[in-house]
Amino acid sequence: MQKMIKKYFALFALPTLIAFTVAFVVPFVLGIYLSFTEFTTVTDARWVGLDNYVKAFKDPDFLKALWFTAKFTVVSVVSINVLAFLLALLLTKKVLGTNVFRTIFFMPNLIGGIVLGYIWQLIINGILYQFDVTLTSDPKYGFWGLVVLMNWQLIGYMMIIYIAGIQNVPKEQLEAAKIDGATSGTILRKIILPLVMPSITICLFLTISNSFKLFDQNLALTAGAPSKQTTMLALDIFNTFYSKAGFEGVGQAKAVMFFIMVALIVVIQLGITRRREIEN
């Protein structure tokens, strides 16, 4: 049967493969190559070795963006996951209207990053106006603005995954613990938390990669203002490509390093998940 299906390669696999080659394989390979060259239009590429990488590391904007992104990722990952988990605990206690609440909390996740950015620009500027400052007066407003925005967008999503995890905890185990006189704190720490570990891993991974790769929200909320101090990595790469003539090669080198950082996060994540699955 395998041989028979194989003959139909042109129908079943070729269309996807052509699109995949055009949209991904060629741009990816070309991107790696161009990161070692100086170019403005691709055809005029000239080999410069590691020059672009050296320039990228000497670029204070890049290092600032990396630091800002790292700080932002840590703060938003912790806050989103703690709040989403608490919300999931609340919603798994049979409270009236659980489904309606779930629907409401999840909704912001569907709104696109650009629209989200402008919604929060209005709200945050409105609050700061009372104190005679704006979102772009100080980078700390932009930072916390992005954290709040990200929490609003992702808490509902993570909450749904945590709810699924909590609902998988066997009821018998909970009842047995209660009969043995365990407090709800002990039950949470000793029974619920270990059993929802798979959900925690998924949520950590999703929030880390979403925060680290953030672009649209950053562009709409502050666009990096004041003076590039709230620029995240993805936006810095975009700016290097499109608003600094002659820096295309450096932009591509930054993009390759960005890819390597994202890939490292994924590899570490997969390693942890694998190990835990073997342990169980």
Partner: protein, 278 residues
């Protein structure tokens, strides 16, 4: 779950109610401001649109005109519907094919699809735009091919994972009855794939509809989707027409809320399924 929470239920309900209002309020505040004069928005976003401040639908008419909202809506709809249809149609076939044909080539291809899921857009942003230009794909039809290609990683992966759970006997039975691979896939396998096809469709609708950077770079100078149009309203020149912005934000959110309310069950299930496997 735990007995001692029973007596706390009215309190818990109240906490959730307050949180729900807090979650909804940003959208409601934008809605409220969309009816206010443009000079009363930045300074007093929490004031109700009463008296002189109230301008009716003025912001909507001026915003729709300024960014050509309806053509942006049409463009978003065109690109989203057709590229998601293409993704579901072609990657379901590819996912099935790569799972059933086990050679070193098919494994290598599958690995490349999975690998592409890890690569952030910025890595290929510049070169993909150039490739699209050279090949003449920088138009609303060409971008469909780009979306199929860039979206194929996750979609092939999800379909392939589902195909593994379908017993081979079903396909063998088709073959014994004299059916070929075309019949096998379209008559028998495709209907079985329906649940995962819904998941793939939902995940891709959410991505393509909200996507900003890819369409901006590939077709943005000539054709605007909704996110591009909203960003365009900000313009390069400091002062934003806040009234028009509020109205356009509301119009951008409405289709999403309608879509959510109609397909809520599928969306939540699909997003969770995609997250767990992806």
């Amino acid at each position: 779950m735990v007995d001692d929470t029973q007596k706390n239920r009215p309190f818990l309900f109240l906490v959730l109610l307050v949180l729900a209002v807090a979650f909804l309020s940003p959208i409601l505040i934008v809605l409220m401001n969309s009816f206010k004069g443009k000079f009363f928005i930045n300074d007093a976003p929490f004031k109700l649109p009463t008296g002189d401040i109230y301008v009716g639908l003025e912001n909507y008419t001026s915003g729709i005109q300024k960014i050509g909202f309806f053509s942006a809506f049409g463009m978003s709809l065109f690109i989203t519907v057709l590229s998601v249809a293409a993704i579901v149609f072609f990657t379901s076939m590819t996912g099935w094919f790569l799972t059933r044909v086990k050679t070193k080539w098919s494994s290598a291809l599958f690995f490349m699809f999975v690998f592409s899921m890890v690569v952030p857009f910025q890595m290929v942003m510049f070169t993909m735009t150039k490739t699209a230009n050279v090949l003449g794909l920088d138009n609303p039809v060409g971008i469909l091919l780009i979306y199929l290609g860039f979206g194929s990683g996750l979609s092939v992966f999800l379909f392939s994972g589902f195909v593994k759970s379908i017993p081979l006997e079903i396909e063998e039975a088709v073959m014994i009855d004299g059916g070929g691979p075309i019949e096998m896939f379209f008559r028998v396998i495709l209907p079985i794939l329906k649940p995962i096809a819904i998941t793939v469709a939902i995940l891709n609708v959410m991505w393509v509809w909200n996507d900003y950077l890819l369409p901006y770079l590939v077709i943005g100078t000539e054709y605007q989707t909704i996110p591009i149009a909203v960003q365009y309203l900000k313009g390069g020149y400091g002062s934003i027409d806040m009234g028009a912005m509020m109205a356009m934000l509301v119009l951008a959110i409405i289709p999403i809320i309608i879509f959510y309310l109609i397909c809520q069950k599928y969306i939540i299930e699909g997003v969770v399924a995609g997250a767990v496997k992806g």
